[in-house]
């Protein structure tokens, strides 16, 4: 995108907003065709701003902007196709979580239509009755896959042989399953669990639990040791037993 270029009515999702100067905000959005970008929304905090109600997370939007070097300037916003997703109660926290995943794992100006579509699909599921944990694991796999960080779940790292159910594997997060022992500190996982994860078969609670751990580590690997804020807040809430768990 060249500075000064006008982009009209692109499908977008708001990921996050933060205050900028007195009456403006910087809105982090995920657009389908232009990737993630930061838009300066001028005057949005003024009492009469009509855009404030529209520019909410989890609502399909059509945004227009004038491209800049680092940040673009928003020039218009309209509700997009379909009603805003209404995430109930703790499902909202899952929505914040996937927003943070996109914010932290994608780069600005890197178009990822696939990520956009899978994000929209995940929101759709979160706003319905789909089980939250399975929905989130699907999205984590989708996102890692789209960005080229998908963990190897199906083949032994050393021999390349297919993973077998009933056999224990040492799972090294940036490599995959090792049929032979790799050393201390590596988690042993049953091949059946890895295969179920690869097939996205979440019927067994054990598979979901392991997937949450392994995918969490695969995500951490891409974050260079910087923790996810949403995860910390959720843990704080759960430690106090507030709410009923979202992730």
């Amino acid at each position: 995108m060249d500075a000064g270029q006008r982009i009209q009515l692109q499908p977008c999702w708001v990921l996050h907003r933060r205050d900028f100067r007195d009456s403006s905000q910087i809105i982090e959005v995920l657009s389908r065709e232009h990737g993630r970008l930061g838009l300066v929304a001028r005057g949005i905090k003024r009492p009469k701003s009509r855009l404030r109600g529209i520019l909410q997370p989890f609502a399909p939007l059509l945004l227009s902007w004038v491209a800049g070097r680092e940040l673009a300037t928003m020039s218009g916003a309209e509700p997009g196709q379909g009603a805003p997703h209404h995430l109930r109660d703790t499902r909202l926290m899952s929505g914040f979580y996937i927003n943070e995943l996109i914010l932290r794992l994608t780069h600005r100006f890197d178009p990822q239509p696939d990520v956009f579509d899978r994000y929209a699909h995940c929101l759709q599921r979160l706003s319905g009755d789909d089980p939250v944990a399975a929905t989130l694991r699907d999205f984590e796999l989708d996102l890692l896959d789209a960005l080229g960080f998908a963990p190897n779940l199906t083949n032994d790292v050393v021999s390349g042989a297919p993973v077998e159910a009933g056999r224990a594997y040492d799972f090294v997060v940036d490599e995959g399953p090792h049929a032979t022992q790799t050393g201390a500190g590596v988690e042993a996982v049953d091949g059946a669990v890895l295969l179920a994860m690869a097939a996205r078969d979440w019927r067994e609670p054990e598979v979901l639990r392991t997937a949450r751990r392994l995918l969490g580590r695969a995500i951490d690997l891409q974050l260079d040791g910087k923790p996810l804020h949403t995860r910390r807040v959720l843990r704080d809430l759960r430690q106090r037993d507030y709410g009923t768990g979202a992730q």
């Binding site: 996050h16 933060r18 007195d22 009509r50 109600g53 529209i54 909410q56 997370p57 989890f58 609502a59 509700p79 009603a83 805003p84 995430l87 109660d89 703790t90 909202l92 926290m93 929505g95 914040f96 979580y97 927003n99 943070e100 914010l103 804020h229 949403t230 910390r232 807040v233 959720l234 704080d236 809430l237 106090r240 507030y242 709410g243 009923t244």
Partner: protein
């Protein structure tokens, strides 16, 4: 033009105020020095005293230099109702606009997981203690109608339910005197789903 060090410091300091940039900071500095040195001293003393002396009320987290703020120490207020708001400005707005005579609790923000703002920052533990008060019958949740405000409201309602206190949330909808045509879609759909039955006059 170069200012003297003291003047530069003053102008820089004034720029911490909301809405004040270089130009208005200069204007303020000159106005104080040219015309109102007494006012400048009063301002300086007031700022220092407030910044050092004002903390948070022990019960509601409102700004207060005493352990209890005027609302919490007012014996005439109703202990059976507690209104939970995001900011001190919300307390003033509600108190001026409504006849509410209960107590308040100020979260000093809203749940914002992406910014790392969670239960600790919002004083939810203190709120939990407030909710255990036997005299309390109803919690009125007046967080903003944003997704963060919704998430906050959910957790506050959850805490209230756990303490056996009824919780309600303020309605969001069409502004009084507004016209439907000009109301944004989100507000309108909230107003529509949150409609109330009309009692026919008998």
């Amino acid at each position: 033009m170069a200012f003297t060090p003291l003047l530069t410091d003053l102008i820089d300091a004034l720029r911490c105020l909301p809405g004040v940039g270089q130009k208005s900071a200069q204007r303020m500095a000159f106005a104080l020095l040219e015309r109102d040195r007494d006012g400048a001293i009063r301002l300086a003393d007031g700022l220092r005293a407030a910044a050092e002396g004002i903390g948070h009320c022990e019960r509601c987290r409102m700004f207060s230099e005493d352990p209890l703020c005027p609302i919490c120490s007012d014996a005439a207020r109703d202990d059976s109702q507690l209104c939970v708001v995001e900011s001190p400005a919300d307390v003033l707005a509600l108190d001026a606009a409504t006849g509410f005579r209960g107590r308040y609790f100020v979260l000093m923000g809203h749940l914002s997981p992406l910014d790392g703002i969670g239960p600790e920052e919002l004083g939810l533990d203190l709120l939990m203690t407030r909710l255990r008060d036997d005299r309390l019958r109803e919690v009125i949740i007046a967080t903003n109608p944003t997704v963060e405000g919704d998430a906050t409201a959910h957790y506050v309602a959850d805490l209230a339910a756990r303490s056996g206190v009824a919780a309600s949330r303020i309605a969001h909808g069409v502004p009084v005197g507004g016209e439907l045509e000009y109301v944004d879609g989100g507000t309108l759909s909230h107003a529509f789903t949150g409609r109330r039955s009309v009692e026919a006059a008998s």
